[in-house]
Each structure stands twice: as C-alpha cells, then as structure tokens.
Symmetry: C2
Subunit: 482 residues, 2 copies
C-alpha cells in the first residue's frame, strides 16, 4: 500500500462522529451546522451567530439574488429597524398575524419611551408610510424598492437558519397602477428571481404555486411560493412573493393621479427570501459526510492539501493552487502538516468544498495527485498536467448533478393520490399531490392534525394558476414542513 493511501485510510471517518441522516436527521443537521462552523446560538434565546464559513455562503447567495432583483427593476434602500406601534397596527390582518411575534422596545436613553416601538418583524407598515408620500402621479409607478436587513420575530422553537428570532433577508415592496401589473411583477420575482437563483445557483429544484388562504401571508390576497424537498422528505418554504391588492394602500392612503387626473389606490406586492436558504442548502444537498456545496456558493471551490511535510509536496501544491487561482477559481492551500492529514481532509469534506486536490510524495513520484470530487466522493489519480482541466470539469458539472440528484429524490418521494385518506402514507416521507377539491378548507384542518399541510397549489402540469382560475381546478402539494 503506498504511503499516501496509508495516511488517508488512517483518517478518522466522518461517519463515525456525524450521525447518519437516516438515523437522526435533526441531529445530523445540528451537527453539520456546528462542525462545519456555519452558525451557533446567540446568547439571547433564538438568536444566531453566522460564522464566516456560513456568512460567505450567504454573501454569495445574496449577490445572486441581488443581481436578479436589480435586473427586475428594483432599487435598494434602507428603512428603519424601529416601527411605532401605532403604524404597525394600521392593517388589521397584518397586525393580527404578527402581534404574537413582536419584540418591543420600551426604554431608550435611560428613560421610558412615550410610545413603545416595535423591532421590525417585516417592513410593510413603515415602507408604506413612505410610499404614501412618494407616490403622487402615475409617473411615479411602478415604484420598486428592496432592502437587505435583519428582522426579528418571537420564535417558540428556534432552529439555526430555519427559524431564528433574528434573521437576515431581503424584502421587496412595490406599488403598481393596477392589479394586472402587480400580479405580473409578483410572478416575475417568483420565477426570474427566486426560482432562478434557487435552481441555477443553489441547485435546489423548487415547486412553484400559491398558498391556500390558511397558509398565506398576513395581509396578502395571494401568496406565491417556492417549495423544495429536503433530504428527509420534508418541505421547506424557500421564498414567497405576495400580492397585497389594496390591503395596505387603503389604510396607508397610497394614491396616485392617473392620466385623467383621477385618484386611485396603488396595487402592491411584497416578497422575501432569507438566511433560511442556507438551511435549505444544507438539507437538500448534505450527505452523511457533511455539506455539499455548489461551486458558485462555496467560499472555497478547490482545496489543495499537502498530505505530509515534504519540500517537493509543498512546491507542487503551491504551484497547483496558484495555477487554479489564475484559472479563476477560489482556492485554498492547506499546508498545515502539523495537523493530521485525515483530520483536515474530513474537515474540508464536512465543509462541503467541491474539489480536493491531495498532493502526497508517493503520488508525486508517479507524476500524479489525487482528485476528490465532494458531491460524488469519487477519488481519481490525475496527472499533474491534467489537474486544471479535471478541476474545471468537476466545477462546471457539479451544480447540474446536485440539482438532478435532488430532483430525482423529490420525484421518487412524490405520489399522486385522489383522496384525503391516501395522503398520510406518501406525506410521511415526502409529498402527496392531490386535487384541491378533494382537500378544501376542512381537509386542511384534518391534515394539520396529522402534522401535514398544503405547501402550494398548482396546475396538474406544475404550472401556475392563471388569473381567475379557480383553486378547485388545481392540485395541492401536501407534505410535512419546516
């Protein structure tokens, strides 16, 4: 057995320490988050520290979403964290939905405040307060703003990334001349921003559709959603785009003068996606050895590891790292040979780095290094001169392969049924597709009793309901949700 391999086989097996997903998915998730140094709990219950490795993934997701939001015509802005309680209470359904989740500041500058202020759980109210000033004429429309910020909501059962007291997100808010323009924009965000970023960048396939009345956003007339299946068969809501109708423009008085000079209420949308997407990445792609990252989101795309202390090893590894950097990849050279190779190797695997290039003296004697593809866990000896090409091939193909794998997994765990009684079985391990007329509002209550819910409504072909199309003609996707 060549020496390099002996060192490799001596490495601690991740499987020995990370619980398997099949055995205990929640604990597996928790361990991956902790051991890949993605995040940890903050000192105030439910809050979260996003550590550098997790945050850099977020920065990349953020850039992908931001680019698409701007292409849709939005401008970024920033609105205050603190919202006067009175403003928060202007839209009845909205306040009813958010009231139990509010965090309230009562003291400032050493004194009791005259009016308590709410720490924003979402910004419809404060933003619409300004829209009322900014919108005067039809020429001011559409008005499309987005903000990247933190929001805070009381959480009974917090879970890192998935449900935290404080999270980071973007929230877009728009005003349009009429219902058709608002709907078209809400759908554009759903498909061109969210679905596209999730599928093309995060490599997570999503179902799109709209929420039932029970599940929609407090204050919306229709909530469009992207839903993905996680590795345990449960559903995660990845991003939502709401049609708000005139629910906010009426209480906030957002009116414009049309071309004829008549005053009309604007039609609005709002839409958001959050750090929850990091949880989705972990759970959609992770395996029993840790995280698997699509290269576009990986803080490091290629790690070049020196297997052991050796001059030639170090020289070749440095050169390979430099060459790969020049080829435009994000590369890390791991030459910490005072730490065991096995431990370092397991760590990089856990952190989901797409490609490892292992440089050891025995391989080098044959003019080779060992390439390890994270998402397939395949190892291959590669001649030194062929490393750059092989890395490119892996990096270019990884996202499509991860996406195809996730899609096949979802399809394999989705069953079509016709009656409510048949939902429980497929619903226990994945999704059930069932005609909405076989569920209805009463059926939703029954599903909820079994910890199931309608994730979205869509056409039988997976398409979105057309304007005016009754829900009765649609299919409900039912599953357990995060």
């Amino acid at each position: 057995m060549p020496a390099d391999d002996a060192i490799r086989d001596a490495r601690p097996r991740a499987a020995a320490t990370l619980p398997s997903r099949a055995e205990d998915f929640p604990r597996w998730y928790q361990e991956v988050v902790a051991r890949a140094e993605l995040a940890e709990n903050g000192p105030v219950r439910g809050t979260m520290v996003i550590r550098p490795w997790g945050y850099e993934i977020w920065e990349r997701l953020q850039a992908a979403i931001d680019e698409r939001i701007k292409a849709a015509g939005a401008h970024n802005a920033y609105f205050p964290l603190f919202i006067p309680e009175a403003l928060m209470r202007l839209e009845a359904e909205h306040v009813e939905g958010f009231d139990p989740e509010l965090w309230v500041v009562t003291h400032g500058g050493g004194r009791k405040l005259e009016e308590p202020v709410v720490v924003r759980p979402t910004s419809e109210t404060v933003i619409n307060h300004f829209f009322a000033k900014w919108v005067q004429s039809h020429r001011d429309l559409p008005l499309i703003v987005n903000q990247w910020c933190n929001v805070v909501r009381w959480e009974l059962r917090p879970r890192l990334f998935l449900r935290t007291t404080e999270f980071l997100w973007q929230e877009g808010h728009t005003a349009h001349v009429d219902e058709a323009d608002a709907r078209a924009f809400a759908l554009r965000i759903l498909t061109d921003v969210y679905r596209d970023a999730m599928e093309e960048v995060a490599a997570v396939p999503v179902l799109i559709g709209h929420k039932t009345a029970r599940e929609r956003f407090a204050g919306a007339v229709r909530t469009w959603t992207c839903e993905a299946m996680m590795g345990d068969g449960k559903a995660l809501q990845m991003g939502t785009s709401h049609e708000l109708g005139v629910n906010f423009s009426k209480p906030f008085g957002i009116q414009y003068a049309d071309a004829a000079g008549s005053l009309r209420y604007v039609w609005q949308t709002s839409w958001g996606a959050s750090t929850r997407l990091i949880g989705a990445l972990i759970m959609a792609h992770g395996d029993d050895f840790g995280l698997r990252l699509p290269p576009a989101l990986a803080p490091v795309e290629v790690v070049v590891l020196c297997v052991r202390e050796d001059d030639q090893v170090h020289r070749v590894a440095s050169q390979l790292a430099e060459d790969l950097r020049r080829a435009g990849r994000r590369v890390h050279l791991d030459d910490r040979t005072d730490t065991g190779f096995g431990r370092r190797s397991v760590d990089w695997e856990l952190k989901g780095v797409p490609v490892r290039v292992e440089v050891g003296p025995r391989d080098l004697a044959r003019g080779e290094v060992t390439l390890v593809t994270r998402h397939t866990r395949t190892k291959e000896p590669v001649a030194l001169g062929a490393v750059a090409g092989a890395v490119e091939r892996i990096c270019r193909g990884a996202a499509a392969e991860l996406r195809a794998e996730a899609l096949a997994f979802r399809e394999g765990r989705t069953a079509s049924v016709t009656s409510l009684a048949e939902v429980a079985e497929p619903g226990a391990t994945g999704f059930a597709r069932i005609p909405w007329r076989a569920v209805g509002e009463h059926g939703e209550l029954e599903l909820a009793a079994g910890a199931l819910s309608v994730r979205c409504l869509q056409r039988a072909d997976g398409g979105l309901a057309a304007p005016g199309e009754p829900d009765d003609a649609l299919v409900a996707v039912v599953g357990r949700s995060y």
Copy 2:
C-alpha cells in the same frame, strides 16, 4: 441665440432655491439631503430612511471598504442584534460610555422578558463572548472578523447621516498574540482600509492620528482616527480603529495557549466606519448647486439628456447612451421630454451626476452635443464622434480634481499656532495645529468651553506617533466637530 441655449437659460436656477453654503450651511446640507433624495427622517425620532440614490452611494462605498477589509485578512460574519444586559456590563469603561445611549427591549412574544436585552450600540461584548470560545491556541490567531450591520444609539440632536439613532456600519473585531501585532493591525486598517478608501474612492483627504484620552472610544487604550474637513471648515470623524489592549480579553476570559503551552490573554482591536461617510461626501464636495460625486461612487456616471422631443434627438441620445454603456460607464438616458429640460437638468446637477450630455436639435445640426462637467460646471460643445473620449477624460480626472480641491481648501483653512490663546481664530473657520504640550488635558477643557476639540494628535510632519512616543512630542489638530 440658438434654441437649445434659450431652453437652457430658461431653466430654474438651483441657486434660487437651494440656500448657499456660505449663508446657511446646515440648511444647505438638509436641503441637499432632501432634494437629491438621499434620505429622510424615519417615524421614530432620530431614525433614517436611506432612499435609493443615497443607498446606491452607500453600496459603492461599502464595496470599496469591504474589498480592502478582506484584503487585510478579515472574514465577514454576523452577530446578534440583541445583547443580554449582563453581557453588556462586563467591561466597566465600555458600559459607562454607552449606558446613556442604550435602547432596551423589555417585551417579546407578548410577555415581559426575564432579562431585558439591549439593542446593540456596537458589538464588542457579544463578539468577545464568542471569541472566548473560539480562541484556544496561538494557531487560532490572529482572529479577524468583520460585520456589516445596523446599530442603535440614543441621540439627543439627530441629523441625517451624521448622527442618527440607527445607522449602518461595519465593525471589525480582532484578537492577536501580542500588543505589537494588535497595533500593527489597527494601523493597517487605519491606513490601508480607511484612509485609502476615503482618499482614493471618496476623494476626501483625511488627517490621521490618535485621539486624546478624553476623546477615545469607551474601552480602548488608543483610538486611531481619520479626520476630514467639511465645506464649512468643521471636522468630521470618518472612521476609527481602536487598540483595546487586554481590556476586553480579561473580563471576557479570552486566552490562548502559546507555543510553550502557557495561557495568555489576547490583545485586541476594533474598528468601524458608517453611513456617516455619505454625510462627509455631501459636505466635503458639495457646492451651491448640490452634490458632486466622484464617478466611482455615483449611481449614474453619465446622464444623457434629450433637450426636447425630437426624433433625431432621441435617436442620437439613445445611441450615445448605448455607446457609453458599452465603454463600461453607468449611464442613464433621460428622455422625459414632458418635463421641462431646465428642471431635469437642475435635478441631475443636484444629485451630483459627474457628466451630463445634453442633446438638442440646434447642437445636432452642427454635429455637436453639449457636455457639462458637474464638478467644474463647465460646458463645452463636443463633436458627436468625440463624446466618448471626452466623457472618459472627465470621469478619469474628476476624483483627483475633487480631492485636490478639498485638500487646498483644508490647507487654506489650517493655521499653525503655538499657544492656546491663538487657537480660537483659526478654529472658528478651520483647523489649528498646536503643540500638544501647549494644550494638555486642562487645555482640552478650555477648548471644549469654546466648542472646540482636539481632533487628533500627530507628528509635525503629519505622520503617526511611533510606539512609545510620548504625546508631549506631538501636534494637536484642533477644530469644531460634527
């Protein structure tokens, strides 16, 4: 008089509506912020809405600073908004400094909290709580993290961008093996990140030095600062880099095992720059006609204006805009000919767009357009074929010219004096440079009575104090401050 010029001369003069800086600088500032649509007051006292034009300037500043911070070796992360009161109280000087400024949450989820939480005014305490867990060995050092976030401080006299209850900033926090390494890093941030971004990107010349004990950050052993002169001769603190010594590592218990296995306290730094820099841009470069933006920070570098409705005008303007975009510039085509040309022209001037290309039928008949350089307000007829070259020339030269102008202004308003009695006169309109031994702590109190303060201490040649160099050998820069 050609028709185009007649239209131009008919435009409302900005000077007629914007107060002049000489007349009322504070009102001029307020008006520029409002009318260039940079920001406005939020509904909770002292909070701020950053509007798209202001926010895009911030995004560009942020990118410039972030790039430099990362080049210095920092990784971005995110720490919670909410800090338990008890944690906030661990470092005595720190809490004493911040106590009067705190906003406190007492209720969450509909109930009174068991322990009140503070909305972060800065994050030393919560970050060091985690550093204590993360730092074990000398191999974990230096630990360099940065976060972009919002912070909240009670403000008695809020002013948009300059002093707001909530503002956006980055705060970096580091841990080092010893004092020398911490100091070197604090200085690297001061010069390679802050001074470089401010001078090279924002085109605002800064003085660097350290604060007197009276002016330094609560909890620091030394505060390094960048100070700039605004258009009214007052000083603005642009960014600070603090040496924290072991002031936080002791109460927070941040220790590492050195190579010999002995436990030692880490030496720390923290450093921040905020949305206040937008205020600096306005006040350092603005003139009586509004904002003047260095091209690198301008949301739009070139606006191509159709002087009036005309097919050929529109065709040529569109083509020019397209050509300039292809050359890599951020270009806006203003073809809203239903709004008067004069009004639009004044608006773009107010918003500080570096170059205007005015396309009118008379100029076109001569194969020309009119180019207006914002920072000099010069107009020149330019042949169509020469527009791209002329725009490049203006855009490449603008920052250096703005910087030189600001530097000349500062030098013109700085006087060297030798006694405290001589400070008042130059201090009333700019800076006085005076040997620190002629001021001293008692002198600082006297200065404060006259609304003056020591902005920084530096060597006579403008350099930074060397390690161990006594303050007595240094020069104090005295001025009125924002």
